[in-house]
Structure formats: C-alpha cells, structure tokens
C-alpha cells in the first residue's frame, strides 16, 4: 500500500472509507425497513392526493412499488447526497486541501509528476466510491427479503449501485479537477455544490416546464437516474456521459495544475 501515491492515498483514507461505507449502507437498511410499513392502502391513498407535479419533482411517481420506493429514497435522495459529500471531501482534499495545509510541497518534490499525482489520487477516489457502493449493494441484497423488496432483482440493485458509484466518481472528479486548477478547496467545494444543487433542481423541474424538457440532459442527475436502473438495469450510454465529462474535467484540471505555481 505504501508503494505508490495511489496505494498510500487509499491507505490513509481507510478509516474514513469504512465509516462512510457503513453509514451509507445503514441509511439504505433503515429506508428498506420502512418499506413494509407503507404497504397498506392508506399510504397509497395519501399519495394519490398529492399533486402529480410534486410527485414527479421529488421522484415519488411510483413510490409504492419496491423499485419506485428505493429509487425515491435510498438511491434517489440520501444515497446520492451522501456520496456527493464524500466525493467532495475526498476530491477537495486530494490536491487543494493538501496544498492549503502545506503538505503538497513534500509530495511534489518527490520523483513523481504532478499529472501522475492527480491521476493516482483520482483513481483512489474512484476506489472509495466503488467500495462504498458495493457495501450498499451487499446491504440491500441482505435486507431485500426481510424488507419485502423482492420485486427488485439483485442484478438491478447492482446496476443502481454501479450508477451511484459512477455518479460519485463524477462529483469527485469535479472537486478534484477544480481544486487542482485553483489550489483552493473552498472553490472546489463551491463549484461542487452548485453542480449538485443546480443539477438536482434542473433534473426535477425541467420536465414540468413546457419546452424545457431537454434541459434535464444538462444535469448529472439525469444520467444517474433517468434510465431507472432499479427497473431496467444498467444504462451504459448514460454512465459513459458521466465518465467522459469527468475525464475531461480532470484532464483540464491536470493541465492547469501542471502549469501553475504551487502555493506554500
């Protein structure tokens, strides 16, 4: 683990990774445990009284089915929110945070190029996202039977978890790329927050506005959830969009990082 920047980054992040993975999985289990409680007709009637636009905006269109429930809760709101925060913390720290704490000088004075540092740190971040999502997947498979969520196949749970992992990698690349270009963690996290909140709002509201439906395709949330992986499985094309944009952002960050001065 100590042989490369990649291994060392994972090694140093191991305690946090365990905590985040357990935390995200626990949220999934708690939501799942509530599912049997809302199977009664009262709940369906209560939901039926809600305006369609509201249900659509918050992803509750079929919240009484297992896939609809999970898609609106664990995989729709809190899961992505936690993953974005975790990815932002890792990505913001990877270059900009280290730089602001004065730790980057020693690393960049080693026989390692800046681009390589960025790539290995990004790779470590991707591993953290993959592990968190895999732990969530394992927890969901375990509680699927007891929580009466059998309608969602393990394959589709896996697909949704892969979507979540790639979604997290995307936001990690945003924070890491902006942080590498600017050297400022606050700017990295600010941009991340704008993309996350803006993306969520656009994805939720654009379909409600006549003629603005296309705008959803500007939101990372669209590529994460519009294809409904809990129902239809993996959507490789959508994931590819996230990956390509993430790679472009990281590459732009690397170019700027190589050219600029490192702050003391």
């Amino acid at each position: 683990m100590l042989r490369s920047v990649f291994g060392k980054t994972i090694w140093d992040a191991r305690r946090g990774l365990v905590g985040w993975a357990i935390g995200i999985a626990a949220i999934g289990v708690v939501y799942a445990a509530f599912y049997p409680l809302i199977q009664g007709p009262e709940y369906a009637q209560a939901l039926a009284a809600w305006p369609d636009e509201l249900k659509q905006a918050i992803g509750f269109t079929d919240a009484t089915t297992a896939a609809g429930y999970l898609g609106a809760s664990t995989y729709g709101l809190l899961g992505p929110a936690l993953v974005i925060i975790y990815a932002g913390l890792l990505g913001g720290r990877a270059i900009a945070g280290e730089e602001e704490s004065g730790r980057l000088d020693l690393l960049l004075a080693q026989p390692v190029g800046r681009r390589r540092v960025l790539i290995e740190r990004l790779a470590a971040l991707c591993v953290a996202m993959a592990v968190s999502s895999a732990v969530l997947f394992a927890a969901m498979v375990a509680v699927r039977g007891p929580a009466e969520l059998d309608d969602v196949s393990p394959a589709n749970l896996a697909a949704a978890s892969v979507h979540l992992a790639v979604f997290g990698m995307f936001f990690g690349a945003v924070a890491l790329g902006v942080g590498a270009a600017t050297g400022r963690r606050s700017i990295a996290l600010g941009v991340l927050a704008i993309v996350a909140v803006g993306g969520y709002i656009v994805n939720a509201l654009a379909p409600l506005v006549e003629g603005l439906d296309w705008a959803r395709q500007l939101s990372p949330f669209y590529y994460y959830s519009a294809a409904r992986p809990l129902v239809s499985g993996l959507a490789p094309g959508d994931l590819a969009v996230l990956v390509v944009v993430a790679v472009v952002l990281a590459a732009a960050g690397a170019v700027a990082f190589e050219r600029r001065d490192v702050a003391v």
């Binding site: 000088d105 020693l106 026989p111 001065d261």
Partner: protein
C-alpha cells in the same frame, strides 16, 4: 565537479510583491553552501524554484545541469528536500511516511532508515501527530538524507532542533560533503551557517548581497560586546583599537560593537581587572550593515 546549482538573473514576483529580484548565484559541486538572509528575503522562494514547485517570472536556474521543469521526476530523484515548513499527515507513523517516500524514490533500504532514526533518537512507530515539533523536524531531516541524493536542498533545517540534535545534523551534513554530496541550506541565523557551511551567500530583498567563505564572513561579522571591569576605565585607552564601533564606557562597564577578531580588544582589556565578558551571537542585521559599510569604504578607496 562543476556547478550544481546556477541561477542567472532569476526573478519571481508575486503580484506587486517581489520574491526574487535578479538573483545570480552558483553553488559548486561537493560544497556546503549556506544561504543566509532574514525572513522574507527570498530564501524559500529560491528553493521552491529549484524544485519546480513554482516557476520563475524571468531568468533561469539549472540544478545538476538541468532546468527544474525540464528535469522533472528524474531530476527530483537526485535531490533530497527538506521544506521550510515540514507538514505531513499526522495520522501516519514515521515509518509509514519514510517507507512510502523511499518507494517513490525508487527504494531506500529499511536498514538505512532505521540507522538514521536510531542516530537521531527518533521512534518511528509513533504517530506523527503525537511527535514534538523537534521530532517532526528529525523526520524531515531523515527523509531528505535517506536516499543519499547528489544534492540536498534544506530550508531552515535546524529549526526546532535542540542543540544536541543540531550537532548531529551538522555531522550528517559533514558526512554528506565527505561523500561528495552537495548541500544547499538556508538559514536566518549566522552562527548556524558558520558552523556547517564552506561558503555563505547572503541574500536580502531578493538579491544576493555577497558570497563569502566562512572565515571571511567571520571577520566581517559584528558582535555586541560588554565588558565589566573591577575599576572604572577610561574610554580613551580603547578608542584607537581597530574594529571597535560605537564605543561607550560608563564607569566600569564598556559597551561596543566589535567587527572581526577579538584579539586586540581582549589584550587591551587584560591591562585592567576583568569581572566578566558578555558577547552576543553575531547579528544578521549587523552583518548587513557591515557589508554596506564595506561597500561604501570600497567606493571611497
């Protein structure tokens, strides 16, 4: 061996503030070069330019014959660097850090790391966050020396080290020189570079004021001296002594600033009964004044 570090008209400005203003300096292979200047003079800026952490606004520098940016990782493998502010993640042990850095540099035998740690009396199993400032600085020293680089670039290396460890550090520097390594170390304390260096470059406001051998520097250095006599003495008996500045005699206390050798003053004082002598470590600002005076005298001559 040729010059290991060469700076030619090297300049770096941060906005309106100038970090370096046309620095010319050459460090010869195999020497220990002290880089002396007050805080903010541009010492750290110079060092970070040499390691390609920042890029010059104008001028150029070469390290081991290559410009730092062009040299890239291959060049940095041949350098040992101790940052002025040695900051690392406190959650790891010293051993984790050193083994990792060793791997990045192509492998450093564990025995070498352990030998250095034992020599400086540092426990590598302790988490870095639990180490004292001095012990953290020892880690910084070990990592700079451990891969036996051709060039050591040390920014204020003895900061936080107690006198005993400073002595051990100077032994490491001296061994490095014996092994043919070149050492470039900065300091704002004159006595420190005097003990360790062969030549000293003096920098102020981003420019090199002078480069001197350590002996010549010692002759120029100005100390404050205070002598308490048994009986009141007359100022006249000291006034003619060479190198004595701002002489003031107040009853049985003589105060002055002394440039160069103390011999004449001591012999003159010995004609009286001497109760005690107090002499400060030469002050850097005083040294600069000495140089400015020297320049003025040279111009007049």
């Amino acid at each position: 061996m040729g010059d290991v570090i060469v700076a030619e008209r090297l300049s770096k400005s941060y906005g309106a503030r100038r970090g370096l203003d046309g620095l010319d300096v050459a460090v010869h292979g195999g020497e220990v070069f002290g880089y002396l200047g007050p805080n903010g003079a541009g010492k750290t800026t110079t060092i970070r330019l040499l390691l390609d952490l920042i890029r010059p606004t104008s001028g150029r520098a070469t390290v081991l014959g290559i410009e730092p940016r062009a040299g890239g990782p291959a060049l940095r493998r041949r350098i040992g660097y101790l940052p002025g502010d040695f900051a690392v993640d406190g959650g790891q042990s010293g051993a984790e850090l050193l083994v990792h850095l060793g791997h990045l540099r192509g492998g450093v035998p564990r025995s070498r790391i352990d030998a250095l740690a034992e020599r400086l009396d540092l426990d590598l199993a302790t988490r870095i966050s639990k180490l004292s400032k001095g012990n953290r600085q020892k880690l910084g020293v070990i990592q700079a020396f451990m891969h036996e680089p051709e060039l050591l670039v040390l920014d204020e290396p003895t900061i936080g080290l107690d006198p005993l460890v400073q002595q051990q550090f100077l032994e490491l520097v001296s061994e490095a020189r014996s092994a043919g390594q070149t050492v470039f170390m900065s300091s704002h304390i004159l006595g420190e570079v005097q003990r360790g260096a062969d030549r000293v470059g003096i920098i102020r406001d981003g420019r090199l004021v002078a480069v001197e051998g350590v002996e010549a520097l010692r002759r120029r250095a100005v100390q404050r001296v205070e002598i308490w006599f048994d009986e009141p003495v007359a100022a006249e008996s000291f006034a003619a002594l060479p190198g004595l500045l701002d002489l003031a005699v107040d009853g049985r206390v003589l105060r002055c600033r002394l440039a160069g050798r103390a011999d004449d003053l001591v012999k003159a004082a010995a004609r009286h009964g001497v109760e005690r002598i107090v002499a400060d470590e030469p002050d850097l600002e005083e040294l600069f004044f000495a140089y400015y005076r020297g320049e003025a005298a040279d111009d007049a001559a």
